[in-house]
């Protein structure tokens, strides 16, 4: 009997942080579809605006409200859902469900928990209970003990010996987790871990570092039917967080006896924990010496690994978990792919899947890039091949780290010329450290003559994997020893055999080009001449035992091609690749919308992408899905097979865009803005020229290729300057510099300026107001979607800036100029589709900072705020008459100025996951996600965004104000007054205190760092500062600001860096004190907005 449920509340996982990425958007989007199909009313709450799940058509009532018990209670009170499904929204949703239960909200409103129960969640999440449960069923776990103090920790560690693993309770992504190697180490790390745990409890655990690590993705229904969806073997041994481990599916080095033991254990565990229905992920450690097996942990919910397992097998875990929660049993659910067989089976796969995490240490230079029990990666890629080597090399080139396989791609760190025992030993030492890029160094070690055993001793990676890496190196050597062009002439069959072997083992054309000292194009044409082209195999859940009806493919080099293109009109959409800083879920969002729009227009959609976390790689999204790396070679192969009438690459961010020129040179039709226009916008010189002809201001600056010329430019334009290497995208290695000696140092040591490595030097507009603008253009007309005003100091990357839509502190003239410039630029660039432009205003002059003729990070935010599906509109403009499109979406009267809603976007950082990180923001983006705050008042929206981002605005206490001279003005006076009216006490640094006192505001002077004690940092630590307004004082105070900022984050004190933000914060605190925060669903907002512009 099915549950009688007519409405379900589902909780999203909120902003993207390390350990919780867009896999939960993928799982909820699947769930929403299922629930809607069953006619169940879906009430959804998630404050991440860039998710597909929060699109209003996916649920009946969509709340972009903060994920806190307060807001969720309000939603429950209003919507009165029958049930809460907590297992598809990651740790965030699960924790909230427990909280709601503990406070009694679920009971009060009679909301039934489905898909899990509180007892099971507790048993799985609380390690002490989990340990007991495992002992009860006779399974072993690593020895462990909960400690609440450093003393307890020391006594346990002395009992079991070092190393010891620290795991704080109730954190996600292993936050605060660490390995302590000795007593001193333990003291430091335990202190931090105790702070991290919301319940101040830390589990100390016996280390099983070096053991083999396995995961089983399992499902169970209410009749106790049980299936293993996928087994996963970690390439990296125990000791490295699974999220940071390279993983392989299916398990490769277990016999059936050993595998079935894990399966038996998994079944016992899920029963004992009491997961009645749904999915779970169970991790095991296996001793490589004797097979001893320990249970490591169990997640009683859909997880990152389940998203991976779903993509790896074609078995949609989230969808099925939803149905099971509603009372279906596995045999009642059909397998989507085979249609004829039920979901009550265990997928069989006839390929090898490799996941490699995507780290972004380049953006976090000061963070130790050693891998350990705390997850540090920001995304991941998955690749599929018929053997491990092929999948592994494909995964490397999917990472978009400018590498094209396991070395020999022209990018190797070192070139190994001969055997060198010394170097070999150095490398073996390095391998012991578990750096993320160890696999490249394993190759070096092999080239230096290292043995499998030596590498095993250093890394504890299973020898089977090490052997496979060696095979790759051996093939490389074999290729090197052949003169391929000569062979191709003399013995084409031999040449073919050799290239085929290389391709079957994952070598890219770029690697072959490097090995044979030619170009990628030459290799490509040689390959085609020898008829070596990839075939596409189907991911079908069943190893071809049954016919499959879902065109979900991967490439390999074999005999039979299974992908038969249709005769339909079709368009290829290129995905956005792995999530990383600056290239996140927003671009998958716009790509998915492009798919939806094209489907509506009757096109067949073809998606190519390699990110397993996304909605775009759900086989349900596009008509045809190719799970492939986003490189010229791999995409071209698909294009040549499918022959789409056009390719869309302006919706997926930088990843696809950088392929534009290459495709154009192949005569591929690129829909939307031309590659020439893209080039003009991206080339600083050409863009400046364009702005000159349009009479638009931009910060003065120029290229320099020597220190002398750089200094000359800097002197001419005046300090501070914004400096960056010209080849760099997304603000990488950008710096604001105030003085010549610092500039010299930077150019010499950080950038290594040279003729081949020119640097761009721009005037930095300190204290400017910055704006982000998105617009759609059909080449003639421009539809401005919205202007967003940054409320972070200038010079902070737009992705890291809180912003407000619409602008609220700007003059009409400024807004007019922004509108005018946007129109001029979009038309001059002949933009077809979306364009994002960044502006700055200083002293009444509006400057253009940059223009990106593509989809932007803010498009989903604006769509959520206005209810207008801009990405869909922009897509339709690519394929049909724009008047028709405007009509279809009823946009004739749309005017961004009349939208009454106030939306605030606030970035979210994963700083707590990255020890020693520099928390100070700058021109390099460092945030991993964002939240939205929505309402009809600025204060309320700001409050919601702050709460949603985890910055708890205080209701009372002390406000520290430290502002620069320009900000010692009326605005800060009124802000301070407001705070005093709200009952706060003002603390201020010397100059600010004097200024405030002079203006009749009581402010107590406090010491800066190094002025004496207690200084600001002391006060933060003592909890005597509850809010900070600190506007930048130029270079000299950066050290102080850095210390304040770092401690503010550590001790969770909210701080703002502009008066706009200070003003917003005061408004927000006022709203909070009034207790007048309201909730409203997107559907309600959008009805009201549409009513507005229908008038």
């Amino acid at each position: 009997m099915k549950e009688r449920i007519s409405s379900v509340l589902i909780i999203g996982s909120g902003p993207i942080v390390i350990g919780q990425a867009c896999e939960f958007d993928y799982s909820w989007t699947q769930a929403c579809k299922v629930l809607k199909q069953l006619g169940i009313r879906v009430i959804l709450v998630n404050n991440n605006p860039a998710t597909i799940m929060t699109d209003p058509e996916f649920s009946d009532a969509t709340y972009l409200e903060p994920l806190t018990p307060f807001f969720i209670e309000e939603i429950i009170k209003k919507e009165r859902p029958d049930a809460l499904l907590p297992t598809l929204g990651g740790q965030t949703a699960l924790n909230l469900a427990v909280q709601l239960y503990e406070i009694g909200i679920l009971q009060k409103y009679n909301v039934k928990l489905i898909g899990s129960n509180i007892e099971a969640i507790r048993k799985a999440e609380d390690r002490e209970l989990f340990k007991k449960a495992m002992e009860k069923i006779g399974l072993k776990v690593p020895q462990s003990e909960y400690v609440k103090s450093i003393e307890e920790g020391i006594s346990f560690a002395e009992k079991i010996g070092f190393p010891v693993i620290l795991r704080p309770s109730f954190t996600l992504g292993g936050t605060g987790g660490a390995i302590a190697y000795d007593l001193e180490d333990l003291k430091v790390k335990l202190e931090k871990a105790l702070i991290e745990s919301p319940i101040k409890k830390v589990l100390l655990e016996q280390s099983v570092i070096g053991w083999k690590e396995y995961e089983l993705e399992v499902m169970r229904d209410k009749k106790d039917n049980f299936v293993v969806v996928c087994s996963i073997e970690n390439f990296n041994p125990m000791g490295i967080h699974t999220g940071d481990s390279i993983t392989v599916a299916p398990a490769q080095t277990l016999t059936d006896k050993e595998y079935q033991k894990l399966r038996d254990y998994a079944r016992l565990i899920i029963n004992e924990i009491g997961v009645e229905t749904g999915g779970a992920n169970i991790q095991f450690a296996v001793n490589p010496e004797n097979g001893e097996t320990l249970v490591i942990e169990m997640n009683p919910r859909v997880s990152r690994s389940s998203a991976l397992a779903s993509k790896a097998t074609g078995f949609p875990i989230a969808k099925i978990a939803t149905l099971l929660a509603l009372g279906y049993t596995l045999d009642e659910i059909p397998n989507d792919i085979t249609k004829k067989t039920p979901a009550s089976f265990e997928p069989s796969i006839d390929y090898c899947v490799v996941k490699i995490p995507r780290w972004d240490f380049e953006k976090f230079k000061e963070v130790d890039d050693t891998l350990g029990v705390q997850m540090k990666s920001v995304g991941e890629v998955m690749a599929i091949g018929r053997n491990f080597k092929e999948a592994f090399q494909k995964a490397i080139r999917s990472l978009e780290i400018e590498r094209f396989g396991l070395g020999c791609d022209g990018k190797d760190e070192i070139e190994i010329l001969g055997k060198d025992e010394n170097l070999k030993n150095q490398i073996l030492e390095r391998l012991k450290q578990n750096k993320w890029d160890n696999f490249f160094w394993i190759r070096h070690a092999f080239k230096l003559g290292a043995t499998i055993d030596e590498i095993y001793t250093a890394t504890k990676i299973d020898k089977w994997f090490i052997y496979n890496l060696r095979e790759i190196v051996e093939i490389e050597e074999e290729l090197k020893n052949t003169d391929i062009f000569k062979t191709a002439l003399e013995n084409p069959n031999l040449a073919k055999e050799l290239i085929l072997k290389a391709k079957q083992n994952g070598f890219s054309d770029i690697q072959l080009a490097h090995i044979w000292k030619t170009t990628e194009k030459e290799i490509r044409s040689l390959r085609k001449k020898l008829n070596i082209i990839p075939v596409y195999k189907t991911i079908d859940t069943c190893s071809a035992e049954f016919e499959s009806y879902t065109p979900y493919f991967y490439s390999t080099y074999e005999f039979e091609n299974e992908s038969t293109p249709t005769q339909r009109r079709k368009i290829l959409i290129i995905g956005s690749g792995p999530n990383r800083i600056g290239q996140g879920i927003e671009f998958d969002y716009t790509n998915v919308h492009a798919v939806f729009a094209l489907k509506e227009e009757g096109f067949e959609t073809i998606m190519i992408n390699c990110n397993p976390e996304t909605v775009s790689t759900d086989y349900d999204t596009a008509d045809r899905l190719y799970f492939e790396p986003i490189t010229f070679e791999d995409v071209m192969n698909v294009i040549e097979l499918e022959k789409p009438e056009g390719v869309i690459l302006s919706f997926g961010g930088q990843t696809p865009l950088k392929l534009a020129k290459l495709f154009e040179s192949e005569g591929i039709k690129i829909l939307g803005t031309s590659p020439q226009s893209i080039d003009i916008a991206e080339d600083r010189g050409k863009f400046a020229q364009l702005l000159d002809t349009l009479g638009i201001n931009y910060p003065p600056g120029d290229y320099a290729n020597s220190i002398e010329s750089a200094l000359e430019i800097a002197r001419k334009i005046g300090y501070p300057v914004l400096v960056r290497p010209s080849y760099v995208l997304g603000g990488k290695a950008m710096k604001i510099i105030y003085r010549e000696n610092v500039l010299i140092d930077y150019l010499k040591h950080e950038i290594k300026i040279s003729k081949d490595n020119p640097v761009l030097i721009d005037k930095f507009l300190e204290d400017a107001f910055e704006y982000d603008v998105d617009a759609i253009c059909d080449g003639k007309n421009v539809l401005l979607l919205g202007i967003m005003e940054h409320i972070e100091e200038a010079g902070i990357h737009s992705g890291d800036s809180s912003c407000v839509y619409p602008p609220f502190m700007s003059s009409n003239e400024t807004i007019q100029k922004i509108i005018e410039y946007t129109q001029k630029i979009a038309i001059a660039l002949n933009v077809i589709g979306l364009i994002n432009i960044q502006f700055a205003e200083k002293d009444g002059i509006v400057y253009v900072l940059e223009a990106n003729p593509r989809s932007s990070r803010t498009v989903p935010f604006l769509s959520k705020a206005t209810g207008i599906p801009f990405a869909r509109i922009a897509t339709k403009i690519l394929v049909k008459n724009s008047d028709e499109v405007m009509q279809e979406f009823n946009l004739k009267n749309f005017n961004h100025k009349t939208v009454k809603i106030k939306a605030c976007k606030t970035p979210v950082f994963s700083f707590s996951k990255l020890p020693n990180i520099n928390v100070f923001l700058g021109p390099e983006m460092r945030s991993t996600g964002e939240v939205i705050g929505l309402s009809y008042s600025l204060g309320e929206s700001f409050a919601k965004a702050q709460i949603g981002a985890g910055n708890n605005l205080p209701l009372y206490g002390n406000v520290l104000i430290s502002v620069n001279d320009r900000d010692k003005n009326e605005k800060i006076i009124s802000i301070a007054k407001e705070f005093i009216n709200l009952g706060f006490k003002i603390l201020a640094t010397d100059g600010t205190a004097k200024f405030l006192n002079l203006n009749g505001i009581k402010a107590e002077k406090v010491f800066k760092v190094n002025e004496g004690h207690p200084d600001i940092v002391d006060l933060i630590k003592e909890g005597k500062i509850n809010f900070i307004i600190n506007t930048p004082l130029g270079e000299t105070s950066r050290f102080d600001e850095f210390a304040i900022g770092r401690n503010a984050i550590k001790y969770k004190v909210p701080f703002v860096t502009t008066l706009s933000a200070g003003f917003s914060a005061v408004e927000a605190i006022k709203k909070l004190k009034e207790g007048k925060l309201t909730i409203k669903s997107l559907q309600e907002y959008h009805r009201e907005i549409k009513y507005e512009f229908a008038k």
């Binding site: 080095t253 045999d331 089976f345 069989s348 090898c352 069943c542 190893s543 005999f559």
Partner: protein, 366 residues
């Protein structure tokens, strides 16, 4: 790298690389979709006369060990894989698959598009085939494939049954005494029975029912085995005589023989069920078991309609009969492999149910 070729009777010939022994081998070409357990499969006597394709493309990774065998030596006629691992890694392994097959003179072929072959078999049905490292002439290979006898009508059990009776666990002071008809028994069936306190006498397939009954066992097991069950008329006749006398458990071929003995019919399936992921519904408990299967023939449910037989298990993939029980006697059988090996352990209860019947018989409940 030695060249090898595989040819199917439908005219497909693929070139690959030889591993294991050199030579030429013939058989019905079938595929198994299990992800683990190549050692168990290769040594499973039910594969007698068959060339086995592993759909898992990476075979040999964990080598061969001394324990995970289902009979004393490899039984398959030949092995087809996408990639054979030259290196193995497992703490129990003692040699590589390649050397093991060489030692036992089993021909293998690697580096072939196994998925293509599987799709051929799926669409066209199980086919006869040949692997050769001696003959590379496509026409000749196809001719050879076509000249092998069809599986239908073949008694292969005569090659896999034991020649002499023996007690599997002589030292064991077991509570129950079971006679097992050996048509090609997998060792794990014997191990499971031993574990459940049974002393097992393994007897040749031809053993007369009278001789069995004279031993007065507590129960009888009809083992798995290769080939067409309908060709084993001698066994069917003996089973008929045993049905009303003793509790009986039939497994796989044993299940088919029991069905034939009660008047049912068997038929050759298009390409059979071979894998470790087959969902079977127990119609009595309504629970689903993920089962290990290896059968190319099945029992026709229509043919059982008139008999006193209840269908107890069906395949959820295609509805085929996966288990029956006699209504009036403690006699039942399953088409799948409750002993797993390889495969999940969901169906171990089948042995427990059998032993429960033995207990009841000892207690004279029947």
């Amino acid at each position: 790298m030695r060249k090898a070729k595989i040819a199917l009777e439908n005219g497909i010939v693929i070139e690959g690389v030889n591993f294991g022994a050199e030579g030429e081998t013939y058989g019905e070409v079938v595929f198994n979709t299990a992800l683990t357990g190549y050692q168990e499969m290769i040594t499973d006597p039910s594969y007698k006369g068959q060339i086995l394709i592993f759909t898992n493309p990476l075979i040999g990774n964990y080598g061969i060990n001394d324990e995970d065998i289902e009979s004393r030596s490899p039984q398959v006629a030949g092995v087809v894989v996408r990639e054979i691992s030259k290196f193995y890694s497992n703490w129990r392994a003692s040699e590589s698959l390649d050397s093991y097959l060489k030692r036992h003179n089993i021909v293998g072929i690697s580096n072939v598009d196994t998925r293509f072959l599987v799709r051929q078999i799926r669409d066209k049905g199980a086919m006869r085939g040949v692997i050769s490292t001696l003959d590379f002439d496509d026409k000749s290979l196809i001719e050879k494939a076509r000249s092998i006898p069809q599986m239908s009508g073949l008694d292969l059990a005569k090659f896999t049954t034991t020649e002499e009776s023996y007690i599997f666990n002589p030292e064991n002071n077991a509570k129950f005494f079971v006679v097992l008809y050996d048509f090609g028994v997998k060792l794990n069936i014997l191990r499971k029975l031993e574990k459940l306190n049974c002393k097992v006498l393994v007897v040749p397939a031809h053993t007369d029912a009278k001789d069995i009954l004279s031993l007065n066992p507590d129960g009888i097991v009809l083992s798995n085995g290769p080939g067409d069950p309908s060709a084993l008329t001698y066994a069917i006749n003996n089973i008929k005589k045993l049905i009303s006398k003793k509790p009986i458990l039939g497994i796989c071929l044993g299940h088919q023989l029991l069905s034939l003995a009660v008047g049912g019919k068997t038929y050759k399936m298009k390409f059979g069920h071979r894998g470790s992921n087959h969902p079977v519904k127990n119609l009595i408990t309504e629970k689903i078991e993920i089962t290990s299967q290896n059968h190319g023939f099945a029992v026709d449910p229509e043919s059982l309609k008139e008999s006193d037989v209840e269908i107890t298990h069906i395949s959820l993939n295609d509805g085929t009969v996966e288990g029956i029980a006699l209504k009036n006697f403690p006699v039942f059988s399953v088409q799948y492999h409750p002993e797993a090996s390889p495969g999940p352990h969901d169906s171990e209860y089948i042995f427990k149910n059998f032993v429960y019947l033995l207990q009841k018989t000892q207690n004279n409940v029947f």
